[in-house]
């Protein structure tokens, strides 16, 4: 995608280093080997394949009912997954993550530039009143997903170079405002995509939190954010703010009482709860979801978790959460053992990204927080997100491979 040019340059620029790496890898079998976290690799591939199965299970019925190829969504996702896996392997095993630091600024700027492009003729798809897609060479690309990735890269570089800024609260606010504020504001104002804006802010917030030695800055910031949201909810609830003025306010009222408008704003979230509840502990069996037959709109996207729970039960849902937990745990290990701060920060960024998306996604489908459209990593349908997550995992693998491992013999 946008970083294609960058990767190409990296490949050409470091043949020597690559050879050295290969030699090292071959020798490591006997003497010293680079750290390879198979757990991460396995879980990512597993979750991606699981996502394919669920997407097929969910979409084949409605696709075949409308006379389309029932594997259409499966094929799209599979294509993104294969490209993403190649990119992941390339970044993880071929490329040195340290190179990324050098090109992080151009990547960040390029990603930001993609956001306004959705208003150009390239961005055709009007979804929910906002154009969030770019159509390039017949492929649809979601700039917001690319922005999330680029923010991780850029923030990590920023922290690596200007860690001193984190000493003061003002410095933290400055970094937040530039690194998170600009893309978040662009995403929110141009594409009307608040969920991505929240994710971007969250990623930067947690990266700064880990990089900094201070707690109270973040407690203050986090408490402020929670307080602001609480105030908003209170105002909406007490009708100071008219819930009808914005669909987001309406979503807050729907969150508070989904039954109040069960066929309107509360519909999707209620149907999601019905799915989870009707599935029970062990579910109705793979492919036996009723809710996917048109009751949950776009069930293969943000609401895929509720269908997983309906078909395979809450047991499987928790198992999936547990998998993400292990993934994040492995990333934590990698981050704390990374050879340099940049690598560490990259992994923290990916970890934050992953954790935030999983938590928010599951919280939405269980109506813990108001409805907002966040896909479940690796599992939800969406080519760009899949691609970007696999690329980010590639970065994590790349960082992990630099960790020296002592000989076991």
């Amino acid at each position: 995608m946008s970083d294609g040019a960058g990767t190409a340059r990296v490949r050409n620029a470091n043949p020597r280093q690559l050879r050295r790496e290969r030699r090292k890898a071959g020798a490591a079998a006997k003497r010293q080997r680079s750290y390879m976290d198979y757990g991460i690799l396995f879980i990512v591939i597993f979750l991606s394949c699981f996502g394919l199965i669920m997407i097929y299970s969910i979409t084949q019925y409605s696709l075949s009912m409308s006379g389309l190829n029932p594997r259409q969504y499966l094929n799209n996702q599979l294509r993104s997954m294969i490209f993403g896996l190649f990119l992941m392997l390339f970044i993880g095993f071929v490329m040195d993550y340290r190179l990324i630091q050098k090109i992080s600024t151009p990547i960040f700027i390029a990603a930001l530039c993609m956001i306004p492009l959705v208003l150009s003729p390239l961005g055709r798809g009007q979804v929910n009143g906002a154009s969030r897609w770019l159509y390039i060479f017949g492929m649809s690309v979601q700039p917001s997903e690319i922005v999330k990735g680029s923010v991780i890269i850029f923030t990590a570089a920023m922290i690596n170079k200007r860690r001193y800024l984190l000493q003061s609260f003002v410095g933290v606010l400055t970094v937040l405002a530039t690194v998170a504020g600009i893309p978040a504001a662009m995403l929110f104002l141009i594409t009307d995509n608040m969920s991505s804006a929240i994710i971007v802010c969250g990623i930067v917030f947690f990266m700064l939190f880990v990089a900094s030695k201070k707690y109270w800055h973040y407690v203050l910031l986090g408490g402020g954010a929670v307080g602001a949201v609480g105030l908003l909810v209170y105002l909406v609830r007490s009708n100071v703010i008219d819930a009808a003025s914005d669909f987001r306010f309406a979503r807050i009222t729907a969150w508070l009482d989904p039954y109040a408008d069960s066929s309107g704003v509360g519909y999707q979230i209620l149907q999601s709860l019905y799915s989870i509840g009707s599935g029970g502990i062990f579910g109705k069996g793979l492919g036996h979801s009723i809710q996917k037959m048109g009751y949950i709109p776009e069930a293969q996207n943000d609401m895929i978790f509720s269908i997983i729970c309906e078909e395979l039960g809450v047991f499987t849902g928790i198992a999936i959460i547990f998998m993400f937990m292990i993934l994040i745990w492995r990333m934590m290990i990698v981050a704390s053992n990374a050879v340099d701060l940049y690598g560490s920060m990259l992994v923290v960024g990916v970890m934050s990204h992953l954790g935030l998306q999983v938590v928010i996604n599951v919280a939405v489908v269980t109506n813990v927080i108001p409805n907002t459209g966040i896909p479940l990593p690796f599992i939800s349908y969406g080519g760009t997100a899949m691609f970007m997550f696999l690329a980010e995992i590639g970065i994590v693998i790349s960082v992990a491979r630099r960790i020296p491992v002592e000989e076991r013999e």
Partner: protein, 774 residues
């Protein structure tokens, strides 16, 4: 930094744990509720798959009724209106082309008027061939332009249904009944409705035990097939002869039908299987409400108890006669009825009947009614064998007694007369039955007593349903004698007056008298098969009880044989005997409840062969169109003979008696004989009227519930007796008394003077009058 990482991880971990708890709580707390909600918002469209109603077969496997798959044309206006209504024109053109009977304009206006309608049936009962024309049009290759303009056929589909067919039309209509939309009506169709009906199938989505949605087809369960004991050939023989009877005696004496009602049962006395059961008129089972072509003459007479005199002025009382077709059609609708008449029906001879809506409904219900099981009447002398059998079986008499008949018996204040007012002198029990002597029977009944008579009445199942497998059977239990019957009641009951029975009660009881005392439940269905043809239930002959001992039965058979096989001067039923066979039986002539000595129910119960009964035929004619109904018993015996003559060879029952020359000739001419008889009868109505006049003379004096089988037989029987005897002197076939060659009146064998006042002896009866209403 490491610490911060751990903090971050713990934060995420806590969030995950919290979400997991939330997930579990949703599933646990709301699981069932949400499960229901998920199911309740399912809008599953279920498609009905109709079941096929079971066939009704006759005993040889011929189909009396079956269901045929047909198709209904259903218009989906919503579909047709898609694509800007481009489908409408080609679709309606195709419908008009394929189904000439379809009203294209009507469909078009409907589609325009109700564009959201998804289901409207426009044509019913289309055959597969008919719809395949349309389907070919629908599935043909469409040109590119048509495809582009969406000018394709849409919005029409065919729904499966079944229609009931009765290939024989009116054959056995009273037995079979018919199928209305809501199930069987009358007869076997109603009685066995549950067996014949299947269960509709459905194409639907259902939720299985695991709350999994499954879309399946539950095929229709077809109804069961009935194999009946009806024999189509015997049934059609019976119906043919009934029809012949009606044609012959129509307007014979009075204007109107040959009889008010007629019933014939042919059955196997050894197992209760009914071979045939018929009444008149018949109707087309395929279209039971269509009265066109049905002979309604007997229903158009308002007053069924009319005297011949008033009958001739029938037009004034709204009677529609049909003796001449062209005249009838012009004059048929009486002036005063013309305004009220909403419906008309054209009879078989072209006569037009007009009726009001209510009349039409009544007539339909009377036609559909099965006389043989649903109507009760006073059985008359056919009851006599029952009385004798009871008396012998209970030890009241031995059968060796002899009685003196003086022509009447004084019972209390009443003189109850015998048909032969001169008295028959000394008679044995056998002679008493053969000559149908009331006095002998009264004496026998007194010998056994009221209690025993009533006990046997119950044993023979009178007043109770026989439980024949037909809908609409009546028990007539209110019209039977109870414990409070008096001596007079017993006296008249002994010869079958004063209480009511149904034909099937009589036939079933009579079977037990002649088959060794075994009372079989009369039945029509011998086997029930499922839709694959496997037998799922075999209905074997069921012995309900032993009515009389085998010895008594053998004794009775001897007596009953004497009724038919004795010398014509010694018996009443000789004319029932089919040539070449031995037959046993009993005649019956019951005076109807009005006791006017005019209106009678005549009947004959006969079985062949006399020693080992194989087939039983019971004929009942209610109020025959005959100048002297009390003398017309021969109509029943002859009808019995005609039916037996055809049925016996068909059942492979071989003649055992050598045929006389006359009988040979008679057999050869059996077809033409009947009509000749009819002609001679028609030509001699004058003498018939005389007989009627005689009857009226005697009417004023008395009105008794009386058997009056003696006396004049009428001119037509005179002719027959002459033929039989081969001499110039004619004898009355029932009493054996000589007949006056000129008038046909019965003469006293000693004085050779006409016996006067020989009809309708009046004995007012107490309970009988009220009880014996038919």
């Amino acid at each position: 930094m490491q610490g911060k990482l751990v903090v971050l991880f713990i934060l995420v971990l806590l969030a995950f744990v919290a979400l997991s708890v939330r997930l579990i709580s949703i599933a646990r707390d709301n699981g069932d509720d949400f499960k229901r909600r998920v199911l309740s918002q399912q809008s599953t469209t279920a498609i009905n798959i109709p079941y096929k109603r079971g066939d009704i077969l006759d005993r040889k496997g011929g189909k009396l009724a079956y269901s045929e798959k047909v198709y209904n044309l259903v218009v989906d206006a919503y579909d047709m209106n898609q694509d800007g209504g481009a489908h409408i024109e080609p679709t309606i053109n195709a419908i008009a082309k394929s189904f000439p009977e379809a009203d294209a304009d009507e469909i078009k206006s409907y589609v325009n008027e109700y564009p959201s309608s998804r289901y409207k049936i426009f044509l019913h009962n289309l055959s597969y061939d008919e719809i395949s024309v349309f389907q070919k049009l629908e599935n043909r290759e469409v040109s590119k332009e048509e495809e582009k303009a969406k000018r394709t056929i849409a919005g029409v589909f065919f729904e499966e249904a079944y229609t009931r067919k009765y290939p024989y039309g009116s054959l056995a209509c009273d037995i079979i009944g018919f199928e209305s939309g809501a199930g069987g009506v009358f007869g076997l169709e109603e009685y066995y409705n549950d067996e014949l009906s299947g269960v509709n199938g459905r194409q639907y989505g259902y939720i299985n035990d695991d709350s999994i949605m499954e879309r399946t087809i539950k095929p229709a369960e077809d109804g069961h097939t009935l194999v009946t004991t009806i024999d189509s050939n015997i049934q059609s023989i019976v119906e043919k002869h009934i029809k012949k009877f009606y044609d012959t005696y129509k307007d014979n004496h009075r204007q109107g039908a040959a009889a008010d009602n007629i019933g014939v049962i042919v059955m196997n006395p050894n197992n209760g299987e009914i071979y045939a059961m018929a009444g008149y008129p018949v109707f087309d089972l395929n279209d039971p409400t269509n009265l066109n072509g049905v002979d309604l003459t007997q229903y158009m007479v308002k007053d069924t108890e009319e005297t011949p005199a008033s009958g001739q002025e029938g037009d004034q009382t709204g009677e529609v006669s049909g003796n001449s077709s062209s005249d009838a059609s012009e004059n048929s609708a009486p002036q005063n009825n013309a305004a009220a008449a909403e419906y008309t029906a054209v009879g078989p001879d072209g006569q037009v009947y007009s009726m009001t809506r209510q009349e039409r409904t009544d007539i339909c219900n009377r036609i559909w009614r099965n006389f043989c099981i649903s109507d009760s009447f006073e059985p008359g002398s056919v009851m006599k064998p029952f009385t004798v059998a009871s008396a012998i079986d209970c030890g009241g008499i031995t059968g060796n007694e002899s009685y003196d008949c003086g022509g009447y018996l004084q019972v209390g204040n009443f003189q109850i007369h015998c048909h032969n007012r001169l008295g028959d002198g000394t008679l044995t029990v056998k002679q008493g039955i053969a000559k149908s002597c009331n006095v002998v029977l009264m004496d026998i009944a007194f010998a056994m007593g009221k209690d025993e008579w009533l006990r046997y009445n119950r044993i023979f199942n009178f007043g109770q349903k026989t439980n024949i497998d037909l809908a609409g059977e009546t028990a007539a239990s209110a019209l039977t004698f109870k414990e409070d019957m008096g001596k007079t009641d017993l006296a008249i009951a002994s010869f079958g007056q004063g209480f009511n029975t149904t034909m099937i009660q009589m036939a079933a009881g009579f079977c037990s008298i002649i088959n060794g005392g075994y009372y079989y439940r009369p039945h029509l269905v011998s086997e029930i098969r499922n839709s694959e043809g496997a037998v799922i239930s075999e209905i074997n002959p069921r012995i309900m009880k032993q009515t009389i001992s085998e010895k008594t039965s053998a004794q009775l058979k001897e007596y009953l044989e004497a009724v038919v096989m004795s010398d014509p001067s010694e018996c009443t039923g000789w004319s029932a005997r089919p040539a070449g066979y031995t037959e046993g039986g009993k005649t019956g002539t019951a005076e109807k409840a009005k006791r006017d000595g005019i209106n009678y129910v005549i009947s004959f119960m006969g079985y062949v062969p006399a020693d080992n009964p194989e087939v039983l035929c019971y004929v009942v004619i209610d109020r025959p169109n005959h100048p002297a109904q009390s003398e017309s018993t021969r109509l029943a015996t002859v009808l019995n003979r005609d039916i037996m003559t055809e049925v016996l060879p068909y059942l492979n029952i071989f003649p055992t008696v050598e045929l006389t020359e006359e009988e040979m000739e008679e057999l050869d001419a059996s077809k033409s004989e009947f009509s000749e008889n009819a002609r001679s009868l028609g030509g001699e109505t004058v003498s018939g009227d005389e007989a009627a006049a005689n009857q009226e003379e005697g009417e004023g004096q008395e009105s008794a519930p009386e058997e009056t089988e003696g006396g004049t037989e009428g001119a037509e029987s005179g002719a027959d007796s002459a033929e039989e005897e081969g001499t110039g002197v004619r004898y009355d076939p029932e009493t054996g008394y000589p007949l006056d060659p000129a008038t046909g009146e019965v003469l006293d064998p000693v004085t050779l003077l006409p016996i006067n006042g020989n009809t309708s002896d009046i004995v007012p009866i107490g309970a009988g009058e009220s009880v014996a209403a038919e």
